[in-house]
Amino acid sequence: MDLFFEQLINGVALGSLYALFGLGFGIVFATLGILNAAQGTYASWAAIVALAAAEHYKLPFIPALLTGVVAAGVIALLVDQVAFQPLRRRGKDMLGALITSIACWIILDSLAGTATGHNSLSFPRGTYPSTMYHLGTIPLPVMQIITIAAMVAVTVGLHVLIRHTRFGAAMRAVGWDQTAASLGGVNPRYVVIITAFIAGSTSGLAGVLGGITTHNVSFMLGEGLMLKGFAAVVVGGYDDVRGTALAGVALGVLEVMTSQYLSSGLRDGITYALLLGFLLLRPRGLFGSLTYSRA
């Protein structure tokens, strides 16, 4: 039975990465109304910058991690102002923003490839905590604990921010209708910038932690997280952070259990079938709220 619990923990840790990434992706979709194809590159770049900070500048774990996360936030900010702001002035059009996000995805992806010399680097041994705790007979690497803790902290933080603060109210207002929000005294430009930064750094955090635990700092890291994070957002309901977090963790556990007890060939198939099922039967996801639209 130990094997089951071991895999359960692996699933929760993996799911925490998907959840963390999904939170960033979900905020952009809920508040800014943009299906951002470039979100994956924020994670890859966060890992690359964190690695550079750890390796060249010999920063210890936490400062290197924060450098990567802040870098991802800044990149998200730049992409928002360069690729989305010009379109935003012409009215909310998801198709246009989707295409410019594809353009940024192509640019940032190939730059990430050049930055890592097209191979998959990994964090040198000493730069991250690697003690192995034991829960009874079950090995529990500290990085898994950190990942799960980070996910829970970010989820709670975002939930409080969005639901219980003035800035959160402003974010939701901008999400509903930018012009109406600005009439209500909200400065949409300021809200958009901060939201883009938060979304970028959240996905960036998933990137750095993912880069460390999977020994894979490359442009492929972002793409992997992107597809699974997208599924977490849809299944969990994009306008409720708790939904995305729970759905992300559930997807991680489902994935690990499927490859353990069924076959890993079907693993991705089940995740995407679940995604399609939710889209058809319950588009607003597990926790999303019904949106009223008057004729």
Binding site: L95, I106, I107, G265, L279
Partner: protein
């Protein structure tokens, strides 16, 4: 002459891929012109491509017959997709079609008897440039006929304002289902032609990368007129080749930057009928203009 012939021989395959991409872009445009953003064309293409290739390998029939078969297969599949997906709101439709692509790849990997599974399969369908030219001309004729016929007016109405179109007696679900079937047929055929051009297809041939290429091509060319779509697809196919000639190591970055600039400065794409008509408004013949202003007395 020799140089010209070499240049032509060198870039024939680029032209062939431009035409193939135009089919996939037209398939995306078919549903977009009825107000639906859907990436499902990739699934029709995969279905058409693998089915057609396997038919030739298994039954040895004349490869030319696989083209209508692939189009038919695409159309049938898209009809089923329409039945399920048309209940969805617009941006959920886009997300569902993205999920459909991901699932398609998993299915393709797990049925090796049909698709050759992980190893992929060779495609014995020779696709000559002449055949492609004839087929794209045919497709252009079809889309021209569609745009000038009653279907064209109905589709544009549904796209611009579904509620108003419905209040004029235009059944949105019926029009959009027709749009799906057209998209499926063109997508299936496009998938088969892509297989023919590549001579070898694997699970990664029909995946997210061509979905984004198609959408970018459609929007780049202009998603409001079918000619724009073909031009957009051609430009988007030629971009990497041109970029490769200029700055080989940064060609991907160049592609991205060009796409970004076009989207920002030409949001409605290269071919925008509305802009053309707006310009026409100011070239009213002088006589007509005078007549207009003088005859505004209202006789009931």
């Amino acid at each position: 002459m020799q140089g010209l012939w070499d240049f032509w021989a060198a870039y024939r395959s680029t032209l062939a891929f431009a035409i193939v991409n135009s089919f996939l872009a037209l398939s995306t445009y078919a549903v977009l012109s009825a107000g639906i953003l859907s990436f499902a064309t990739v699934t029709y293409a995969a279905f058409g491509g693998f089915l057609g290739a396997r038919m030739v390998l298994a039954t040895g029939i004349d490869p030319m017959l696989t083209l209508p078969a692939a189009a038919l297969a695409g159309a049938v599949l898209s009809y089923l997709v329409a039945l399920i997906f048309l209940r969805l709101e617009s941006h959920w439709m886009a997300l569902a079609s993205l999920a459909l692509i991901l699932i398609t790849r998993v299915i393709v990997i797990n049925i090796p008897v049909v698709t050759g599974g992980v190893n992929g399969m060779s495609v014995p369908l020779p696709v000559s440039l002449e055949l492609l030219a004839v087929l794209i001309a045919l497709a252009a004729l079809v889309f021209w006929r569609l745009s000038v016929s009653w279907y064209g007016i109905a589709a544009q109405s549904v796209r611009e304002d579904t509620a108003v179109a419905s209040s004029l007696g235009i059944a949105p679900r019926k029009i959009q289902t027709i749009a799906f079937v057209i998209s499926g047929a063109v997508g299936g055929l496009g998938g088969m032609l892509l297989a023919g051009a590549l001579q070898f297809i694997s699970p990664d041939t029909y995946f997210v990368n061509i979905a984004f290429t198609m959408i970018a091509g459609v929007v780049l060319g202009g998603s409001y007129h079918w000619t724009g779509v073909i031009i957009g697809a051609a430009v988007f196919t030629a971009l990497p080749v041109i970029a490769q000639a200029i700055i080989p190591e940064f060609q991907d970055v160049a592609n991205g930057i060009v796409l970004l600039l076009i989207m920002i400065f030409l949001p409605r794409g290269l071919v925008d009928p509305r802009a053309i008509r707006l310009r026409n408004k100011f070239q009213l013949p002088v006589a007509q203009a005078i007549k207009d202003t003088s005859s505004t007395k209202l006789d009931i």
